[in-house]
Each structure stands twice: as C-alpha cells, then as structure tokens.
Symmetry: C2
C-alpha cells in the first residue's frame, strides 16, 4: 500500500466497483455532505421546490494549470456555474459535479480540489446534489477536467437577458476586468510582473441577490469570461438591436493588468474575468446599483463603463483616451487556450 | 478554407468568440432547438414548473471508441443521464450538455454525434436546455468527452431507492444483461464472435413511466452500468440491510454474450448494460410489472432473476445451475476502462 501522501488515482477508482465506492465515501461525501447526495441513488431528489422559475446552466472546466494564484480548478468549477446561473437573475441553489480524471493524478491533488469546491460551494450557498467520476488511462486527458451544472430559482419579475438592453441604458462593470486571464497568462509564460495579479475568481450570487432584493431593474447581466468584455457586449448589442459605447478611461484595470497589456500588446477588453459581471440597466438606476454593488464583497470597485445607444444595431465602440472612437468587434481567433 | 468534409475543430471553436458563436448557431441550435436554449443567455430559464419533486443527475461520458454497433457517445450521453433520472422514478424532462473536444476532431464526427444526441433526446422526450463547448489542444484529451446533467419531475408517492428493498421482494431485469460491455470489449479487442452483439443502449424513461402510470409499487430501481448487476445489487442489499439471491438459470443473456463470457472467462453479472434496469418490488406486483414491461419497447425480454431475503444484510448470492450457491461481491478492480 502506498502511504496516503503518495496515493494516486487508479483506473479502478472510475470503474463503479469497490474503489469507486471508497472514493465516494472517503473523499466526496464528507466534503459535499447533504441529504440529496447522501442517498447515493442514481439521481438526487431535491428537498426544495423552486421559488419562481427554474434557471439551468452547465460548464466544463479544463484550466491549465489546475492550481493558480487566487484559486484552482475546483473553485473555478463552482464559481463558473454559480455565476452563469446568477446572470439569469436567479439565486443559485444546487450543483452537480462530474469529474474526468487522468489515471495517476495524486490523490492529494484531488483532495485539495474537492476541499476547495466544498468551501466555495458553502460561500456561494449552493449544495452539490449529484456527482460522477470517470477515470481515463494516462495520456487520454490532462490531469482533471470538471463539469458542473447548476440550478437556481428566479423570482417573478426579474428577467435580465442579452436581448434586454435599451437605448439610454448605462453599462456597469462590477470591478476590475481581465485579472483571471492575465494571472494564467503570466503563470504559463513564466513571466514575473511588477505586482503579481491573482485571479479574480469569485461567486457572484451575492451581488446579483443584492440588486434583486433592492428591486433594481436589470436589463442584461453577463459575466465576461472567455472572449472578455468585448465579446459579451457584442452579444448584448446584437441580441438587443442596439449599439454600445464604452469609455476607455472608465475601464477599471488593476495596474498589473494594465502593465501586462502594455508589455504584451493585449487589448484588455478581450481578457477573461472569472469574478466580474457586466450590468446593463436604466440610467436612472445606475447610481443606486453602483452604491449597492460597492457595499458588497466582490463589488467594491464597481463603476460605469459605457452607455447604450440606438444604433447601429450590434455595434460596440470605444471612446479612446485620446478622443478617437474605434469599433470593438467580437473576439476572433484564440488568445490562450485552457483559461477556464 | 477546407471543404466542409475536411473541416476540423480548432482551438478557436472553444474560445468564446466568433468561431464559437458560429459553431453554436450552425451546429447546435438547429439540432437542439427549443426556446430555453435559443435565448443563448448564460443560463436557460425553463418554461415549465415541476410536477412533484425535482430529480437531478449528472454523468460524464468518455467511451472509446466513440462510434460502436448500436450507438455512439452522443446517444450514450443522452441515455446515460435520462436513465439515471428515470431510476429515481422521475420523468426525465431537461438535459444540459457539456462538450470537451480535442483540437482536430473532424467536424463531421461532431455533427454525427450531435445528430445522434438530438434524435435520442427526441425519442426520450427531453430537451437540451443549456450547453457548453471547450476545446483542448491535441493530446490533452481523446477526441471528445461529453457531460450531461438531467432534470426530471417525480410524482408524489413514487420513491424507489437503493434503501427500499424488503424481504420477500422480487428482483426483475428489464432484458438481457451485459450487451454494452461485450459489444465494446469485442470491438476493442478486434474479436469476431458468432453473431455480433450490438450495444443495448436505450432510454428507459418509457419503461419507468409505464410502471409508474400503472401504479406499480417500486422499491428500488437501478440501471446496471459500470460494475454491472452484481455491483448494483450489492449496493441495494447494503443500503436496504437485506440479502439478495439470484438464480443463474434465470439471468437473461444473449447467445453472443454467453459465448463471449465462456471464451474469455467473464462473469456476466459484472458486465455493464446501458439500456436495462433492475427492478425490486413486492412479489405480489411482479407478474403485473413483467407484463407491463414486456409490452413496452426495450422491455420485451423482462424476466424475474431473483428474490430478496432477510439477510445476512448486504449479501448477494447466486444459485448456480448445478445447484450450488456462491457469494457475488461488488466489482473489484477494473474490467475494461472507458466503456461509458
């Protein structure tokens, strides 16, 4: 028997037999414990009935490296799906977790990831209702991939949607943009920047809940992950049949992100964040929303970044700091694979 | 531009930008079309409220090869999760689909898989409400992995569970056992058997629905996938604190499966099926349930395979055809990786 610290995942851990059961009972159940999961039937029966409409989302996570400043693939897998559910205006409640693990992954790595998921789920107020583990032979996957799917309940009357932006609306960001992608990029490139940029990875259910509880009218909510703020706003502008104009001076960037963009020639509008959201709402609601966001954890640096115009439909532009205006298209090509 | 037939998945198809949008609009939306998905927000809002309790399940699929007699990874991803939801006694209604694709997968393979998923979802009566696509560089995954999560509604009063078996209950199988694993095993080993065994891959929602509609009292339902019938019955015996006795003569096997087991020395009780279920129910309900199952597609070969005894708690035995009785333990070790 290898000592606990040297133990590795074997193919048998995914075979549905004794070792798989041991893994569930020793590793997953104590960390994710709740009555829905503990029944260990093929599906979980939820103890709760939805309040309002059901929101449903899914995301797979293949981030490389699996541990990084500010988080890890486990925290990412919780936040990513919690945030997608929250962007519908719903309160995230239940997640599923599906693991695809490469044979040979150190058991200690899996424990660290599952600990991180459990802590983040608790912070986000969601339960893990169902799970699944597959193990593939060495070389058939890269360490670990995690899928999470999420369920939330959306109160009646709340309906942010990509098609909801209206001319005259304000565009807010809940904080600094691009931290997650710059964190991974510098880590993968082995760069040392002045001032490390940790990932901004965070669950956003609390921010959305605060706005919903205060009955702030929300037209569109999106978290600018892959493709960044530019892509998200292009999606909103196209779906809503409006134009969006951003102000370069107003885009909130950490000094380390700004510096990395200058050195490497990146446009920060295409960088992924993992703990930020873009809010489109009536101008008359903007100041109140900013005050609410700034009073919440993960919303301290919320600010206004632009406005919604009549048209041309689908166009996003940036008023640059030197007074010009340029078109901001959707991301084309690939900046950095495996950032989430 | 490569011609359509040579087109391959690129990293950019997973980057969240233009190519990812094209993939969604050209490939996924037309096949999975429904109002929940078509909104293309971060999460889907379901148009329906649950009737009864909510059942939730998840499963990832890494089967190798991705196309096999009787199915493919797409049909498997639908059936696997539909069946897990159905095993709670619920009517499967909505699925999510998360794709992890290796760079270079032929676009034609992805189209064939998604076509197969769409056809199977229609057969099973479920909608694909939300999806996600990640692309990883060549060598970081093996062609395609799919996660599906499923939601269903369970009528009040229906509550099969692994802990529900009672002494005196009958144990039924909905059809021949082990077809799926023998199909993959012979394919991977390059064996030619007398009479090809196709996978039994099938959605079981209709079988469960027929039993529930007829108000058959269901104590436990499980689909014998990884770990096979032996593992499923060990789980039920342990959770219920009962013993289970199977009759070897009664175990339904296709001739090709029986032959393969004899040649290769496999115990058919450990082989995975992907379109079968084990039903534990009061003896007084058994004949009625068998009649109902046999009248349904995928239930034609349903039969009684054993009975539930007082104890010893957690023990599963097999009455062999030569009159002996042997203990049937849970699967230990790994028979064949990547069968689902």
């Amino acid at each position: 028997m290898p000592s606990r610290s040297e133990e590795r995942i074997l193919l048998s851990h995914g075979a549905g037999g004794k070792l798989a059961h041991e893994l569930v009972e020793r590793l997953f159940l104590p960390r994710f414990s709740n009555p829905a999961l503990a029944a260990l039937d093929d599906g979980a029966i939820l103890s709760e009935t939805p309040e309002g409409q059901i929101a449903l989302s899914t995301d797979s996570f293949v981030v490389d490296p699996i541990f990084f400043p500010g988080g890890d693939i486990g925290r990412l897998a919780i936040c990513g799906t919690v945030n997608d559910v929250a962007m519908t205006g719903a309160l995230p409640r239940w997640l599923t977790a599906g693991f695809i693990i490469e044979e040979g992954l150190p058991m200690a790595d899996l424990e660290r990831i599952v600990d991180s998921m459990a802590a983040c789920a608790e912070e986000a107020g969601v339960g893990i209702a169902a799970g699944d583990t597959k193990v593939v032979p060495r070389g058939h996957a890269d360490r670990i991939f995690i899928n999470t799917s999420g369920l939330g309940w959306r109160p009646e009357g709340v309906r942010p949607t990509g098609a909801g932006a209206r001319p005259g609306d304000a565009v807010l960001a809940s904080g600094t943009l691009g931290d997650h992608e710059i964190c991974l990029m510098t880590l993968r490139a082995g760069l040392r920047l002045d001032g490390e940029v940790p990932s901004d990875l965070a669950p956003l259910g609390g921010l959305v809940r605060a706005l919903v509880d205060a009955e702030v009218e929300l037209h569109a909510l999106r978290d600018p992950t892959r493709g960044g703020t530019a892509t998200v706003l292009n999606e909103i502008a196209a779906a809503s049949g409006v134009a969006v104009r951003l102000e370069e001076e107003a885009i909130p960037l950490r000094p380390g992100v700004r510096g990395a963009c200058e050195i490497m020639g990146f446009d920060p509008l295409y960088l992924a964040s993992e703990g930020k959201m873009i809010v489109v709402l009536p101008e008359a609601e903007a100041d109140r929303a900013l005050e609410i966001l700034r009073g919440q954890r993960y919303g301290e640096n919320a600010c206004r970044i632009g406005e919604v115009l009549e048209g041309p439909a689908g166009r996003v532009t940036l008023l640059t700091s030197i007074g010009g205006e340029r078109i901001v298209d959707m991301l084309t090509g690939e900046m950095l694979p495996r950032i989430c």
